[in-house]
């Protein structure tokens, strides 16, 4: 491979031809500040915070400027320092001065940049935009007043998620990022995935608050407040208190939730196991009775809204299973209420999710099969972190505690729901044993794991060959769905789709930053948690056996259909104007 030799602040480096100056500086151990740059996703050289002197007439943006043989890069000249400062001061001149009450206070790239550039005032005073924040969505709040127009959100929505819900409108000072025609996010094709929140450098994007309602319920003596925790929360919550990504904090999290005042602390993993029983049985039925194939998983609400908007013709391929969150919600106000002898009307059901789309999901009109709204409030991992901070709870100082019965016992199969490939692997662990009636020699289906965009394999169920595929991020889902539309040439019978890159561990409600390296660590943590559990197959979970015996009957039985399965809503791709057209 051709390489290029250059110096950065006098330090000689050799890098691949075609590299950027930014990469070369990194290799030389020199830090160049960036703001709009997001490796692999958004490399447009827009903000000019990263300017350096490469010996050309004008300063160059290091994140896009290519290296050249013999180039002498200077990153710390008076001109460079002044240019960077001026750029950031100009951004700040149209930015609210309210860091202390901002959702990104102490975790904001702009704030950190202003600090590191030693900005102690602003020479510029000018007009400030006054936009009305868009609070229409159940999941995402957009506050254009804090937006610095870096457009990372636009790139991630388009390139990673293939949704293109938002884009820049107007020009110059009037530019704003919004759905087309300035419509509300709630009326757009936005699937609520929150990937835009994860990449936003500032506080312009954040989740719709669920904390206030949760505190209110917790302090209401008339409420029995139950909480469920999704698989991916336990490998990320620690990060909200400065812990290592991927560190498994399940026991401390349970203890912390008790201290926050929750009356029943249970696990979404329980209903993940239940999903495997229901979905596995559904798959076997479709395979043997000639149902619609390939069957596609349905646990990821961002993915569900995506297929409703963009591939409504493939809705019959979706499993009818509700997501584990909604199965849990429906059971909390029926099975759990009955078992505990509590009036379901007094139960307040909270779920802790790595996901912003789950906030939308719990408000869907069909998610009221218990006779009440099945899940009352969804909190993201970040929000739980904030509540714990507010309550002075330090995870490190807590003992490890166990979940409460009857929906607290879980398996390794359920834990891996949090990572891409996990649902497929968990399903295979059960389907294999149910179909072949033989125990698996090795429960690890390693082909399911890892960050490749689309993974495929053929599994031999002792004579019956089943082809499966796994995808994560919606741009990859598009690839898989286009193949299905084209007649499914690879003959897949079962497809796992997760909306977010890396699966739920990379969900839009996870701690910031969430990037590829951090995703990988959370995935590693997930499989460690799987290995540590005594039971690793859903159908061997005794609490699952018990709930079928005591309450549900059998998978796909009458009660299951009532409480655990759902229907989908085809949606258009363009706005349907609700108010009467003006004449």
């Amino acid at each position: 491979m051709a390489t290029v030799k250059l110096t950065v602040d006098g330090v000689p480096v050799e890098v691949e031809a075609g590299s950027t100056v930014l990469k070369a500086a990194e290799k030389a151990g020199i830090n160049i500040p960036t703001l709009c740059y997001l490796e692999g996703i958004h490399e447009v050289g827009a903000c000019r915070v990263c300017v350096v002197d490469v010996g050309a007439k004008a300063l160059q943006a290091a994140c896009v400027a290519p290296v050249a043989e013999g180039m002498k890069v200077l990153t710390n000249t008076p001109a460079v320092r002044t240019a960077r400062k001026t750029t950031v001061e100009l951004i700040l001149s149209n930015h609210p001065d309210n860091c202390p009450s901002c959702v990104r206070n102490l975790n904001c790239e702009l704030q950190a940049l202003a600090e590191s550039l030693n900005i102690r005032g602003n020479r510029f005073e000018g007009a400030r935009n006054e936009w009305t924040p868009d609070v229409s969505s159940h999941s995402i709040v957009r506050d254009p007043n804090k937006c610095i127009l870096c457009r990372r959100c636009v790139s991630v929505c388009e390139k990673v998620q293939g949704v293109q819900a938002i884009g820049p409108i107007n020009r110059g000072f009037n530019t704003v990022i919004a759905p087309a025609f300035g419509e509300l996010l709630a009326d757009s094709v936005c699937v609520n995935c929150g990937q835009c929140i994860l990449v936003c450098p500032v506080g312009a994007l954040y989740e719709k608050d669920g904390i206030a309602k949760t505190w209110a319920a917790l302090s209401d003596p008339g409420k029995h407040v139950v909480v469920q925790t999704a698989p991916a929360v336990r490998v990320a919550l620690g990060e909200t208190q400065g812990g290592e990504p991927g560190e498994v904090v399940t026991g401390q999290m349970v203890a912390g939730l008790r201290r926050l005042g929750f009356d029943g602390v249970m696990d979404t993993d329980f209903t993940a196991d239940l999903t495997i029983l229901e979905e596995g049985t559904e798959l076997i039925e479709r395979l043997t009775k000639g149902g619609v194939l390939p069957m596609i998983t349905s646990c990821s609400p961002g993915w569900i809204k995506f297929i409703e908007h963009f591939y409504p013709d493939l809705l019959p391929n979706l499993s009818t299973c509700k997501s584990p969150q909604q199965m849990f919600g429906a059971l909390a106000k029926t099975f759990y209420a009955e078992k505990k002898g509590i009036d379901p009307a007094s139960i307040f059901s909270v779920s802790i999710m790595p996901c912003t789309a789950k906030k939308f999901e719990c408000e869907r009109p069909e998610m009221r099969d218990s006779g009440y709204q099945d899940v009352d409030v969804v909190l993201t991992t970040r929000e739980l972190g904030r509540m714990m901070k507010e309550a002075g709870i330090v995870l490190d100082k807590l003992p490890e505690e166990e979940y409460d019965p009857p929906m607290g016992l879980t398996t390794g199969a359920a834990v891996i729901f949090g990572a891409t490939g996990g649902v497929c692997e968990a399903a295979l662990r059960t389907v294999y044993e149910v179909v072949t009636k033989e125990p698996l020699k090795d429960v690890n289906f390693k082909f399911c794991r890892g960050l490749a965009g689309v993974k495929e394999a053929e599994v031999d169920l002792k004579g019956t060959k089943v082809k499966v595929a796994v995808s994560h991020s919606l741009s990859n889902a598009r690839k898989v769905l286009d193949m299905v539309r084209a007649g499914n040439p690879n003959g897949w019978a079962f497809i796992e789709v997760m909306c977010c890159p890396g699966g739920c561990i990379g969900g839009g409600g996870q701690p910031i930053p969430t990037n590829t390296a951090i995703r990988q660590k959370r995935i590693d943590g997930t499989y460690t948690a799987d290995e540590r559990l005594a039971i690793r197959k859903s159908h061997e979970n005794p609490a699952i056996t018990a709930i079928y015996k005591e309450f549900l009957g059998q998978p796909l039985g009458h009660k299951s259909h009532e409480l655990l399965h759902t229907k989908y809503t085809p949606r258009g791709r363009y706005r349907i104007r609700k108010e009467k057209a003006a004449d």
């Binding site: 293109q164 938002i166 107007n170 020009r171 025609f181 363009y574």
Partner: protein
């Protein structure tokens, strides 16, 4: 001639957001798109021609173009809102282009613009109820020495003062 066709279509169209396009209009647009082989990189040219044919670019037209080119409405609206040459609102019979460039500005353009808005009862960027006038701000008409300057249709009006505006508009009313 073109202006007449524009306002006629515009008045007839009354296309509200979310409404479907009339079939004949959709066909007209499809012919334009076909001339560019449905190539999304010709978006700007296509929009330009569609605007010429329709008179303006209301939301349902943009949605149709996006659908046919296989690009997102966010992209199409982004382009249309970026270039002042495109308009999502119907244009009036008489287009007023008032200059707010530096020279006109210092010679009193802001007060002149205000008066025009007051006389016609609409803001710049908009069209009057009766579709007679549409108001646009331009950055320079190349007549700086004569500022403040405005054009009504093809006529140049120079050295404007607020109290000269009613007289300026009268012949077009």
């Amino acid at each position: 001639m073109a202006a007449k066709a524009e306002s006629a279509t515009g008045a007839k169209l009354k296309l509200a957001p979310g409404q479907p396009l009339p079939a004949d209009l959709a066909k007209e647009i499809d012919v334009i798109i076909a001339r560019y082989d449905g190539n999304p990189s010709s978006l700007i040219n296509i929009l330009h021609e569609v605007q010429k044919a329709v008179g303006f670019l209301p939301e349902p037209v943009l949605t149709h173009v996006a659908e046919k080119l296989g690009v997102s409405v966010a992209d199409v609206h982004g382009v249309v809102s970026f270039y002042t040459l495109f308009s999502m609102k119907p244009k009036g019979k008489h287009r007023i282009a008032a200059c707010k460039g530096t020279a006109c500005y210092v010679r009193g353009a802001p007060r002149v613009l205000e008066r025009i808005e007051k006389e016609l009862g609409v803001k710049f960027g908009d069209t009057t109820e009766d579709a007679q006038f549409s108001l646009d701000i331009v950055r320079c008409l190349g007549a700086c020495g004569l500022g403040p300057v405005a054009m009504v249709g093809d006529d140049v009006h120079a050295r404007l003062k607020p109290d000269r505006i009613p007289a300026m508009l009268k012949p077009y009313r």
